[in-house]
Amino acid sequence: MPTSLVQRCNPVLALYVALAIGAACGLPFLRVSPNRLLSGEPVYLWDVLLQHGSPLVYVLMLDIAVLLCIAVWQPKGLTTQAWVVLAMAAGLSGVWLLASHFATSAIQAENPFSRTALGAGFWALCAMAWMIALDAIDRLQLTTLRRLLVQIALLLPLLLSLNEGQHLSIAKEYANQSDIFVPAILRHLQIVWSAVVPALVIGLLLAWRMTQTQSLRQALFPVLNVIQTIPSIALFGLLMAPLAWMAVQLPALGHAGISGVGIAPAVIALFMYALLPIVRSALAGLEQVPAEAVHAARAMGMSSRQLLWQVELPLALPALLIGLRTAVVQTTGLAAISALVGAGGLGQIMFDGLFSAANELVILGVIPIVLLAMLADTFFKVLSSLINVRPQ
């Protein structure tokens, strides 16, 4: 049976490749400036290649180009997809090494204060390489755990070559600020943890009550939905005034660290955001527990608590985990904004960079947030897949 061109080839990959070529040609790969304060001159990928390219690099690039062309026309070939993942792992570390060598030679050849910043082209190429690799991994159709391992392998060459980039300005910014990162990450985790754990406990209780009381569901869901539509900055702001007032009225609260600014409004707001996905998924999970299993459990003499722990929760768990994953990923991202009300965390680094026009610092704040969110996402996916191994 004849199939159309679009069905046979991989249009997604073709688009990524086109975008990558566009980014390589049209966006500056690096920006070079004589010192930290001046804005840099754009340097394009071909400049870097002309300056530092060895025949080996050209051969490698040609290989990758050929491979990608094959992959566009052979979307079903598993070996091809495996090669694409390998090539992208090499590509990710390749652009990093290219930028690193450029920065090193700029310092040695020109002046020791020169700054080589990563440009939009670099980030776009990295993003494209990542997307191309993910597309290829999807086509390999792996189990969740193997998928995770392949993703780690994809990043491994880049991680191993991270040290090479010590003369890039992003590494210099990091070196200047390295002492604030670990506390910022811990603070970020603390905010997420303090919002999600109570949301999980209270969300579960609410969902459980909702299965018994219809009116609670009718009353609560509109409220949770409205909260979800309030912009996070507005919600932080709305909480500041009453919390500040409470701290004045009840000094004990103030001593406990609760006031209009700081971690308290952040945690309360994030708790409220996390509640909706958790309640909704927990309720969906509890409602799909077969009624006859509940009936049988009661008739065999289970107490309400035993019923909940032994029958209802285990059967609701797969659905609950989906909501919990949403809540954790969402909270990790939103917690960045809570730096605006003085909660600290990685958002603080991001905003410091934003307000001092230091793009590298913004990126240094954002990357850990993205990584934390991805780690949380992967963690819950793996957990879900482990639970679902047990047939339902």
Partner: protein, 312 residues
């Protein structure tokens, strides 16, 4: 063992059960029979307090059931229902172990009991113990359901139309299993059904319910021979009351020595009158030779004797 005294149950002000008096003896297989809405299921569920009664008393081992802790009471009564209600996230073995675990049995005792029950219900423990409910056929699921109900060796088994959703062949096999188990263990069993043949086959005593009250109580034969009123006769199937009686009687008393030629076709000595007559009708003969378990011919039965001697 279980006694109802003037028990009443109201649903929305209307009486579902009116003044029920019934004494269930140890070791009975008592079938609660009746049309839909007769209250048979309600009677069963009142025993383990899945449904509370509104008036009168129910006694279990001489004590009012309301004086028990409700969970203790339920753990002393096995419970099997039509929809089975196995826990989908637990294996067969874990499902069966539910009540023993609730009672705090140690792991060895639980394991031994699970294997014993699987064998009792004709399921091979080796593949089945570790399977999940969705991997079983409907009949196998209900076998596990019955095993689960019997797991903690309860004083009473409550069964609410347990075989109602099964195909006839599977149902017959499970009915046989229940009958065998009842004979072997002497358990008191309360069995709800609307299937007259199932009731006649299983019951040591039948309670026929109609509109929340007892229409008649008696052994299967008593109900067929002396229906108390028109409802009983109609419900049991007025036209073939006689045929149903035949299926409750054995051919054994009608076996006589062979005179003349031995009939060509044979029937086992354990057959019922109904089976014998049915076979004669199919084969167009008026007599059959009777064989014992080993297949040896021990006599013959003749159509005329079977019908004439029926009330003898």
């Amino acid at each position: 063992m279980i006694r109802f005294e003037h028990t009443r149950k109201l649903y929305d002000g209307a009486a579902a059960i009116t003044d029920l008096n019934l004494d269930i003896q140890q070791g009975e297989l008592l079938v609660l029979l009746g049309p839909s809405g007769s209250g048979k299921s309600t009677v069963l569920k009142m025993v383990n307090r899945m449904v509370s009664h509104d008036g009168g008393h129910i006694f279990f081992n001489g004590q009012d059931i309301n004086s028990f802790n409700v969970q203790d009471l339920r753990r002393r009564m096995g419970y099997a229902i039509q929809s089975v209600g196995l826990f989908p996230h637990r294996t067969v073995a874990q499902n069966i172990a539910t009540v023993p675990k609730l009672l705090g049995w140690d792991a060895h005792r639980v394991q031994a009991r699970v294997y014993e029950l699987l064998k009792l219900l004709a399921l091979d423990p080796e593949p089945f113990a570790s399977r999940y409910p969705h991997q079983l056929s409907g009949g196998q699921q209900q076998r596990v359901g019955v095993a689960r109900a019997m797991a903690a060796n309860p004083d009473v088994l409550l069964m609410d139309e347990p075989f109602g959703a099964l195909d006839p062949v599977t149902r017959a096999a499970l009915q046989l299993s229940i009958k065998t188990i009842h004979r072997a263990t002497g358990k008191t069993i309360l069995f709800v059904t609307h299937d007259i043949d199932e009731a006649l086959l299983l019951a040591t005593r039948i309670v026929l319910l109609n509109q929340g009250g007892i229409a008649q109580v008696g052994t299967p034969l008593e109900l067929l021979q002396q229906p108390a009123n028109d409802f009983v006769a109609d419900f049991l199937g007025r036209a073939d009351l006689g045929l149903k009686q035949l299926s409750l009687r054995s051919i054994a008393p009608h076996i006589q020595a062979i005179q003349g030629t031995e009939p060509i076709y044979a029937i086992a000595h354990t057959a019922t009158l109904r089976e014998a007559i049915s076979q004669m009708a199919t084969l167009h003969v008026s007599s059959l030779s009777v064989t014992d378990a080993a297949g040896t011919v021990i006599g013959q039965v003749r159509a005329a004797d079977l019908l004439e001697n029926q009330h003898a």
